[in-house]
Amino acid sequence: MELHQELAKDIRLAEGLKSCMNCGICTAICPAAEFYDYDPRMIAGIVQSKDEIRIEELLKSDVIWYCGECMSCKTRCPRGNTPGLIIMALRSLSQELGFFAESEKGRQQLAIKRVVGENIAYRGYCVLPENLVPELHPELGPVGEWIYENKTKVYERVGANYNGEGVGALRKIPQESLDEIKQIFELTGGFERFDQIEHFSKQKAEEMGFTEGGDNYSDYINHIYTTNNNKHSRP
């Protein structure tokens, strides 16, 4: 299997990489390049080169996980490329092949899948008030804690319909609609992506000495959610 050919099957690569002249404007505008040791110009150059060894290194590295997908690069590229879309194609392939589990940042995909992924697939929302646990979100401050502790009354006060029937903010999505969303995930490869993330994460967790126990690798989840080796920033 040629990696560059696999990448080329992703329609976002066709859109995101037409012809890069390595001018570096994308790097100049990039919020990730501001703080991470990250250079989208380099990403475009490697993928364009079709160098299989360097593409595999990318797929296994932290580097492809630094982008914030703000797509500021799209506006500025004089050739109409979008390094953010190249990144999306690389991340998809990295997960398909299990390479994401080889880097600290890549391994985080399991934590995102377990929360955001399962929210959308089974509840119809990407984010839910129940996720905003103060210990996991200290940045939300005392007001966030007050909202979390008093969800029903606070959301009622501001006109939301938290877990209610019918229309409105934070309403309960009707079961027949959730069934349709699940069917969409089943048919379009959404659950297959989830299974890939779980499968390769399990292998890596065991390799790293974490055990499933009775709690589906909660120690591994905690590790990937909080670990930072502090080697990601520019020297």
């Binding site: 914030g68 992924g117 990407c126 905003l132 940045e139 939300l140 502790e149």
Partner: protein
């Protein structure tokens, strides 16, 4: 250049926004953090402007946050979006009104993909048919909710109870505007003013009496970065990008920050709290933070709505400095009260 030529050039920066009959799709971020803003938008359209805006209980998140965190494949999000379009088609609507900027970018990306790759559209029609039995039409008009408020900004100005004016000095309030990246950076033609001259918030501020403040990092991302905020150990990215903006705007002494994306006001609001906790640094006047508002909240204040009805007590950075400057009357004792008038929960604020 002759005037006709200039008009032609600027036509590329304009956008057609439907006048009425909208199918509304909510934002999962806004519902969690500023649900009162969405309610305020609906109230303005229905009660003030007499518009028809329809909501359907069966629509879901577009899955955009999951897609941009790369755990949802493109086929999956396309089909979820197609389902939203099917709900709209079945309800007899053609104009989509989108609460979220991430969703707005997603809808535009998918519609443009279908134009460029018709085989994708057929594939997604088949997926949706098999999964749900539904059929759909592509919307005739896709507007972000801020586009709609922009369109009717003068109608709001006619009804205003308060102006974006400092009541003590009589001078216009200095407002910094922050446009969500996915509003027009990806598809400039889909935003008012494109990516270079986004006018959607500027138009509101100027119509309601305020002064827009330019500053070097005006167009820099707030730092959400999807996975860069979702995972705790990545949040340095998010706060650092917000801080870059605060440092850049601070010398201009803004009275408020105005946003059109659901995520940006959350981050620009909360990260001010975090920076104060970590470094003791505040960016507003008199040791306070800079109030961060959604455009729905600002429109509501101009129209004289009660800030606590709109959910402005859910901000971490206090909004009172702005309310006081505008001369808005509010009851501080009811800030954290419920519908029964009693204080909700135990306050440690």
């Amino acid at each position: 250049m002759k005037r006709e030529g200039k008009i032609q050039v600027w036509q590329d920066y304009q956008k057609e926004i439907a006048d009425n009959h909208y199918f509304y799709v909510r934002s999962c971020i806004r519902q969690n953090f500023f649900p009162g803003a969405e309610q305020t938008f609906l109230r303005i359209l229905r009660s003030e402007l007499g518009k028809d805006i329809y909501e359907n209980a069966h629509h879901t998140s577009c899955s955009g946050i999951a897609y941009h965190a790369d755990i949802v494949p493109f086929d999956t999000i396309q089909t979820i979006v197609a389902r939203q379009f099917a709900l709209m088609t079945e309800a007899g609507y053609q104009n989509l009104a989108v609460s979220c900027i991430t969703s707005f970018g997603i809808y535009n990306e998918i519609i443009e993909t279908w134009k460029e790759f018709p085989s994708e559209l057929e594939k997604i029609r088949n997926f949706l048919r098999k999964a749900t039995g539904r059929e759909f039409e592509v919307p005739q008009n896709v507007a972000h909710a801020s586009d709609i408020v922009y369109k009717f900004r003068e109608d709001i100005a006619i009804r205003k109870k308060y102006s974006l004016t400092n009541q003590q000095t009589g001078k216009p309030l200095k407002i910094v505007e922050h446009i969500g990246c996915h509003y027009s950076k990806m598809f400039p033609a889909k935003g008012i003013g494109g990516a270079e001259f986004p006018n959607v918030l500027v138009g509101m501020i100027e119509s309601w009496g305020g002064e827009v403040i330019d500053y070097p990092e005006r167009r820099h991302c707030c730092g959400f970065g999807f996975r860069q905020y979702l995972v705790m150990s990545n949040r340095g990215y998010s706060v650092s990008n917000s801080k870059k903006k605060f440092e850049s705007m601070e010398p201009y002494q803004p009275d408020a920050i105005l946003c059109n994306c659901p995520g940006c006001p959350m981050f620009l609001d909360r990260w001010q709290y975090v920076i104060e906790e970590m470094e003791g640094k505040t960016y507003g006047q008199n040791g306070q933070g800079i109030p961060v508002l959604t455009y729905e909240e600002m429109a509501g204040l101009v129209l004289g709505y009660n800030p606590w009805d709109m959910g402005m007590q859910m901000h971490q950075t206090n909004v009172e400095p702005l309310l006081d400057k505008m001369g808005i009357e509010y009851d501080p004792d009811l800030k954290y009260a419920g519908n029964d008038g009693k204080i909700i929960g135990k306050l440690s604020l």
